[in-house]
């Protein structure tokens, strides 16, 4: 696959968000920074993309997890944890909820500036590790 060859140098980010606006904003902003973007509207589809392409980072909007879809969430958690992919969770997570070390949370409604900066930092870190 061509993007697998490219992924040696070009980092990719998977965005799982039901909002077309959010996907477009993140895509436009990150592509300007030389990042390759993968998109999914639903968590299930996002999980498939994550398994196939091993992105450098995953952005997950919690609203894409359907009611009763805890299993999908768990598989996404373990998939990203095992592949050491940072997972940025967008949504309202209770402070008491335990977070895995590779996860970070951005509470809604958020500002895009800080979110993009956070993604940039995480990408820079994973580049160093690689």
């Amino acid at each position: 696959m061509p993007d697998q060859v490219g992924s040696q140098r070009q980092q990719s980010v998977l965005i799982i968000d039901h909002s077309a606006d959010t996907r477009q904003v993140l895509r436009t902003a990150l592509e300007r920074r030389g990042v390759l973007i993968l998109e999914a509207k639903r968590a299930e589809a996002g999980l498939k993309l994550a398994r196939r392409h091993h992105p450098a980072l995953v952005v997950l909007d919690l609203e894409t997890i359907p009611a009763g879809g805890e299993a999908v969430r768990e598989r996404l958690d373990s998939e990203t944890e095992n592949s050491r992919i940072p997972l940025v969770v967008l949504g309202n997570v209770r402070r008491s909820e335990a977070l895995l070390p590779h996860q970070s949370v951005v509470q809604k409604p958020y500002h895009y500036g800080p979110l993009i900066r956070k993604i940039e930092l995480l990408l820079a870190d994973s580049k160093q590790v690689a």
Partner: protein, 566 residues
Amino acid sequence: MASLFVIRGSDQGTRIELEDGALTIGRDKSNGIQLHDTEVSRKHVEIHCEKSKCSICDLNSSNGTFMNGERVEAAQLQSGDRLQVGRTLMIFTGGDESDQRGLASLVNIVGDQHSGGDSRIVQSLSQQEGSSLIDDIHASTSPWLARARSNLQIMYRTALAVSHTLDIDQLLNRILEMIFEWVEADRGCIMLLNQATDELEPKARRTRRGSTDEKINLSRRILDYVMNHKEGVLTSDASDDRRWDPGGSVVQMGVREAICVPMQGRYGIVGIVYIDTFTPPGQILEHGVTRKFHEEHLKLMIAIGHQAALAIEDTSYYSAMVQAERLAAVGQTIATLSHHIKNILQGIRGGSYLIQEGLKGDEPEVVRKGWGIVEKNQEKISNLVMDMLTFSKERDPEVTEANLNRVTADVVELMQIHSQDANVQLIWRPAEQMPRLTFDPDGLHRAILNVVTNAIDACDGCESGQVEVSTKFDAEAGHALIRVVDNGVGIGPNDLKKVFVIFESQKGGRGTGLGLSVSQKIMQEHGGEIEVTSTLGEGSCFVLRLPAVLCEGSEQALSPATRVPE
């Protein structure tokens, strides 16, 4: 089934059904009943139910468990009991299914031929005549019997008054009125205990002489006695014998007698009833001191107070329930709207961020993308506001002459971009014959817009999604129809019942749950309706029916097809 209803606290309005078995109440998730109350312990109290008989057992909670205001370790629950844990107050209602089953076997309704046949109706009386038993007070020769009848009558009438009203003020005034008919009181008042401040507040007053501005001074000492001892008192300022001599204050000042009784309900005292009477000095000199209030009056007043208290408790329980339900509805409204507004805000922030980035890097393409997103969300918020205004009664329909084909075409044109974005084909088939009709064009625009928006959303993600909008005029049936047919996801039979229910969105996070309720409201305001048929996986068909109110001159413009055959 037995249940607990939360009437105070952060979970106000919640009803918890109690199934057989044990269940714990507490603050954390592991409990069968989780209360969002910081004063509730993690595991606070256990409820054990068997055949709708329930008992509670405190689990060493730090703040204790209270039943009807008293701290308990363990107790049996009776219907109407108030259970308080932390700041949460619940009312227990016992189930009585088992009792009903038991009763059914003991009480039978049988036909005449099986009843032994020797029972017949000897006399019948209407319900109103129930009181005639005790109406005829003076017919009796025995004064004791006459008094007893009179007492029974006032209790009967109190019971009637109590059962006939849900308005507390009205009830209190009625009770005072009856007391005045029955006993020679000059002044009376009812004070209720304010639960929040624990102070007695006057709620109703009555004076015989009609001087409404006459002040009633109640002695704090007597009130405290009544409240603390939960006893009624009969007082007289002539009871002090030392003052009773011709030169004493009583003869000069007259005698005031009073009765003050607690209003004792199921759970505690809800207030007091007070009456007094005054014998002027002149009368005392003429007839000597004659007491007007006696022990019997006191006893009866206590009974009346009890009846009134029960009614007041029921009424406040009822209004607490109404209030709780209203709060729950308001909470749901706010939650839904803020979720939707949050999503719009997120969109506007995204668009603004792109504009900023684009301006910084001098990239007009990025600016344009950002601007597109801002505009789209601006449209969303405008639609939301219009839907809210239509749903509230802020906006009255403005009926005027208009062309339904034109109005529908406007909607289709407006939705073209949205449907292209969603990769859905939007087809428009206007009726060939459409007379000018009288309706609210802005209202119809909104009604059609919401239905078309939903149809496009229903096709989102479908292959070769298609929405067809058509109009039809039926002169014979006297209506115009707007049909919106899509080949999208369809609606299941259970959800179909809920499509017009406000805040029931099938679109997950994207819908406000306002759109179709608003469309339906607009059509109903026009005397029309919306019909929907749908098959899951195949698509839906919405038909908006608008009763045709023809404009002057439209008769001639009617379709030639209906006129030519003459």
